[in-house]
Symmetry: C2
Subunit: 240 residues, 2 copies
C-alpha cells in the first residue's frame, strides 16, 4: 500500500510557463502543504493551513489515474509543484509513472532532500532570495543536489530587487556547474481565493527588462532569464 | 584572407527571445540577403535588396572584433540570423570564435546546407509553413540535418493558422527524432524602416493560446510552444 499524498490540485495539460522546461506540455500535480511562508507566494491555496480542507488525500494510484486521464494516456512530463512537494512521499508515484513512459520534474525550494530525486527527469531547485523573508540552509541545498545524483538539476531564482540579484550571484558562485534560471518576481500574486485578481504585468515586464539589463551589464552570460509565461498569457488564472 | 560577409546589424548582448535558447544571453549577427521572401517576414531590412546599401561588407575578423567588443570579451552564444545566414561563408567566423570559447547558433530556413553546420552549438531549422507562400524543399532540409552531423539540431515552425499547424505536424512526422518548437506568428511585423510600428500583442497572445490548445487537444506532448518573448517585452524595436 502506498503512502497518502495531500493534493491541492491536478490540472493540465498546459505548457510549463517558466524555467528550464518552458513551453513543454505538462500536467501539474500541486501538493498541499509547505515548510516555507514566502511573503510573495503565488500559491497560498496550497501553502496556508487554513486551506488544508481543500487538499485531497490521494494514493499514488489515484494520482496516476488522474494524470493518465488528463493526458489521454499519452505520456508527457508531469510537474510536481506545491507547496513543497518534497515534504511528501512521491517515490511511488514517480516509479509508477516512469514505468508507463511518463517523465517527472519537480519544483522545490531545496529545504528537504529525498532519495527519489534521483528518479526525476528534472530537479528544479528554487532557493528563496531575501525578499521572500526565508532563510537558505546551504547544507540541505547541497544534500538535494547530491540526492539527485545523475538526474538533471537546475537552479531557479526569483528576483525582485538588487538584494535578490546578489543572492542569485551567490547561489551561482556556490554551484558553478548547475544551469541557473532567473525569473522576475510577481509583486501582484493572487489572493488564495481569487484567481481573477489583476496582475501588474507592465510592472513585471519592467522588472524583466531590468533583470536582463543587469545580467548583461555584468557579462553574466551563463544565466538564463525567463519570465512567467503563463502569467503573461493567462494572468493569475488557475488551471492553465 | 577570409571571405567577405554582408552584415545588416550586430547587436546585443540581449536575451534570445525565441526557440530552444530562449532566455540565453546572446549577441546577434544579422546577415543581409535572403533566398526567401516570406510574406510575413519581420526582418525585411535584412532581406529586400533595396536595403542592400545598408549591409556592410565585413571580414570574419571584423565581425569577431565587434562580437568581442559587445560581449566585453566574455564568451557567450552568438546567434547567426538574417536574412538567411546560410547563404554566406560563416565557417571562418565560427572557427575563430570557437577558438576563443564563443558558441554559435544559427537560424535558417533549411534551404542551403553547409559543411560548417557541423561546427555549430545549435542548428535551428525553420522551414516555412504555407502562410509564408514559400515552398519547402524536403531533400535540402534533409541535407541540412545531415550536414550538422552531431551538432544539436532543432526544428522551429512559425504557425499562423490550421494549414501551418498541419504543416508543423508533417515536419514532425518526417523528423520524429528532432526536438520541435512551435511559435505563433506575428501578423503585425514591422515595416523595414519603422521599428516603432505597433505590434498587435493581444492578437499574437490569442494565437499563442490557440496554439497551446491545439497542441494539447492533439496530445502532441513532444512539441514545445514558445512565443517571441522579445516582441512581448520590447515590441518591434530593433537592437534588443
Amino acid at each position: 500500500m502506498s503512502d497518502v499524498l495531500r493534493i491541492s490540485e491536478i490540472f493540465g495539460p498546459t505548457i510549463q510557463g517558466e524555467g528550464a522546461l518552458i513551453g513543454v506540455p505538462t500536467v501539474f500535480v500541486r501538493t498541499g502543504g509547505c515548510d516555507f511562508r514566502c511573503v510573495w507566494c503565488d500559491s497560498l491555496h496550497a501553502v496556508n493551513s487554513e486551506y488544508r480542507h481543500t487538499w485531497a488525500p490521494m494514493s499514488a494510484v489515484d494520482v496516476m489515474a488522474e494524470i493518465r486521464r488528463l493526458s489521454g494516456g499519452v505520456p508527457l512530463t508531469v510537474t510536481l509543484s506545491g507547496g513543497n512537494p518534497a515534504i511528501q512521499p512521491m517515490g511511488d508515484l514517480i516509479e509508477m509513472g516512469r514505468a508507463e513512459g511518463y517523465g517527472f520534474a519537480i519544483e522545490t525550494q531545496g529545504s528537504v532532500a529525498r532519495d527519489w530525486f534521483a528518479q526525476l527527469d528534472m530537479l528544479v531547485l528554487s532557493p528563496k532570495p531575501p525578499s521572500s523573508e526565508m532563510e537558505t540552509d546551504w547544507a540541505i541545498l547541497q544534500d538535494c543536489i547530491d540526492a539527485a545524483k545523475d538526474a538533471p538539476t537546475v537552479l531557479k531564482i526569483v528576483v525582485f530587487d538588487e538584494a535578490d540579484y546578489a543572492y542569485a550571484r551567490d547561489v551561482a558562485a556556490r554551484h558553478p556547474d548547475l544551469p541557473i534560471y532567473l525569473q522576475p518576481g510577481n509583486h501582484t500574486p493572487p489572493p488564495p481565493e481569487d484567481d481573477s485578481a489583476t496582475v501588474d504585468q507592465d510592472g513585471i515586464d519592467a522588472r524583466m527588462r531590468w533583470l536582463v539589463d543587469r545580467v548583461i551589464a555584468d557579462h553574466w552570460h551563463a544565466a538564463r532569464v525567463l519570465p512567467q509565461l503563463h502569467v503573461m498569457l493567462w494572468g493569475n488564472k488557475r488551471g492553465v
